[in-house]
Amino acid sequence: MTERELKRKSVEYRKKILKYIYGAKAGHTGGSLSCIDILNVLYNSVLNVSPEDFDSPDRDRYIQSKGHCVEALYVVLADKGFFPEADLETLCKYQSHYIGHPTRKVHGVEQNTGALGHGLSLSVGNAIAARLDRKSYRVFTLLGDGELPEGSNWEAALTASHYKLDNLCAIIDHNKLQISGRTIDVCNTDPIDKKFESFGWAVREVDGHDHRQLREAFDSLPFEPDKPSLIIAHTVKGKGISYMEGQLKWHHGVPGEDQYRAAQLELDEVMETI
């Protein structure tokens, strides 16, 4: 996919994220908007997954550890043809499969996540299995910066380097905000790069909204042979909607009617410039 196409996709995805959160009157708006460029690049340029071959043992694996930003994942999976987009009109509604965290009841979702600090261990398990089966698929997992204090992440980080899992890539959506404030104030995990490096990982930092930087990072995996790779993607919570950007209240804020129309208008205007 060209850079222009990716850019247009991101705008389209942001519009849909807002549409379905607005329809559900629920969702994690800010984080979905901060990670959508990462998912866009992954699903449109990196992962060898498709609805037709989703049961292939050779497919790449994507596990979303920050499960609460499921709206970003659902919108991308619908776009890739895993299910009809209209299904998302049932998001979070009574008896819908499309619950507010990733679930395997939705085609294209690898693991049920939502409790934080689980995705990295699951991914390590997938990456170990790839080794055992002499398979070349790769495993990607998206972590939130707010979930890094979960100790299980660091247990998994140790195992990943112990087994030299260079078929594993974790991406941190580093939007620097979590539900009760700035991550640096809630529980300071800086310097993330040094911590992971000291755990035996190879680390790169990118602008998590710059598709070219993201693609270059993914294209150069593994960053070092015999080491798991970490991409620290610097992002902005609420990215793309000026009144949401960097604003804590949009962690799981749902726009009202006027706000929703203003957001869609803003995105339409951006689309016209691409």
């Binding site: 689980h118 261990s121 398990g125």
Partner: protein, 324 residues
């Protein structure tokens, strides 16, 4: 020799520890199946898995002492189609990793076989940190998980083989002491969710699980030789799904029912039976024997069993009281 004579016999052959049967069975399975994967948390020694690891080094994944990660990684491996056994002391496996069991194994339906070794009060005087008296209660409330405690070597071997063949999440727990065989007169069938009536009688029903089954048999022998009472003894190896058909069948005798378990009296086999019986109109006299809600007394597994009446003598006394 009848079942009761076997129990009384001084020449009785005591089997292996269920733990050893587990490791032997797993190793035999792995001979023909490279998809059998063991995941340990520095527990290969206590899990009797050193020979397994030496023979199949690729099939034993060591995580180190990190039980949350143990279960998460096991779930990740299992999701690719392998037959994964996550082996760790039951106390840590079911408490430290509870959320991973709930979400990554049960809710995500990753068919991990969770093997809780040295379960219940097997660690004896090491104390409460090392006891698992909560595991049935905690895990019963988790959807999509088979929970079982095999009583002897036969049940253990069958449970391991069937767990390996079953594409579902399973929790098995057992201890590390050598176990007597259940009476040879009992039917040699084992199926998760189907209890085994290993002794039949008309005066009393004792429903036990895991290593508490043998004390139940000893009580049956005492009640017979001392009081001419005939007891039914059920090895209710599977706590969930519970064998409601068998429960109803034995309850229909209308005689007192005693449950015995190496677990808290809260939330385990006894309360599972009680809720079924009450909801279905049975009003048999009923007593739960287990570990009461207190700081567990210090001692060996045997000491603790005797202290709380998980013994031939203790169960006999409860039976006589109920039968008054």
């Amino acid at each position: 020799m009848g079942a009761l004579e076997e129990i009384k016999s001084e020449t009785q052959v005591v089997g292996l520890a269920n733990l050893e049967t587990f490791s032997n069975t797993l190793q035999a399975l792995a001979e023909n199946d490279k998809h059998i994967i063991v995941v340990t948390s520095d527990s290969r020694g206590s899990g009797k898995l050193v020979p397994f690891g030496a023979k199949f080094p690729e099939q034993l994944i060591e995580i180190g002492i990190a039980e949350q990660n143990l279960v998460g990684v096991a779930a990740g491996i299992a999701s690719t189609g392998k037959k994964v056994f996550a082996v760790s002391p039951a106390c840590f496996l079911t408490a430290r990793s509870f959320e991973q069991i709930k979400n990554d194994v049960a809710y995500s339906d990753n068919p991990v076989n969770l093997i809780g070794i040295s379960a219940g009060v097997s660690y004896g005087a090491l104390g409460s940190t090392h006891h698992s008296l909560h595991d049935f209660a905690a895990l019963r409330a988790v959807n999509n998980l088979i929970i079982a405690a095999p009583a002897d070597n036969f049940e253990t071997e069958q449970a391991i083989k069937q767990a390996a063949a079953l594409d579902k999440p399973v929790y098995l727990r057992f201890g590390k002491k050598n176990m007597p065989h259940l009476p040879s007169t009992a039917e040699r069938t084992f199926e998760f969710g189907k209890g085994r009536e290993v002794l039949r009688g008309e005066d009393l029903v004792i429903i036990a699980t895991g290593e508490a089954v043998y004390p139940a048999l000893e009580a049956a022998e005492r009640l017979h030789s001392g009081y001419q009472l005939q007891s039914s003894v059920v090895s209710m190896h599977t706590i969930k799904p519970l064998d409601y058909d068998l429960l109803a069948k034995v309850a229909q005798k209308g005689v007192p029912i005693i449950t015995v378990e190496e677990h808290s009296i809260y939330g385990g086999l006894g309360e599972a039976c009680a809720s079924f019986l009450m909801e279905n109109g049975f009003n048999n006299k009923f007593k739960i024997i287990g570990i009461p809600d207190e700081y567990t007394v210090t001692g060996s597994q045997n000491d603790i069993f005797n202290h709380y009446g998980i013994s031939g003598e203790g169960i006999t006394q409860v039976a006589l009281t109920l039968l008054k």
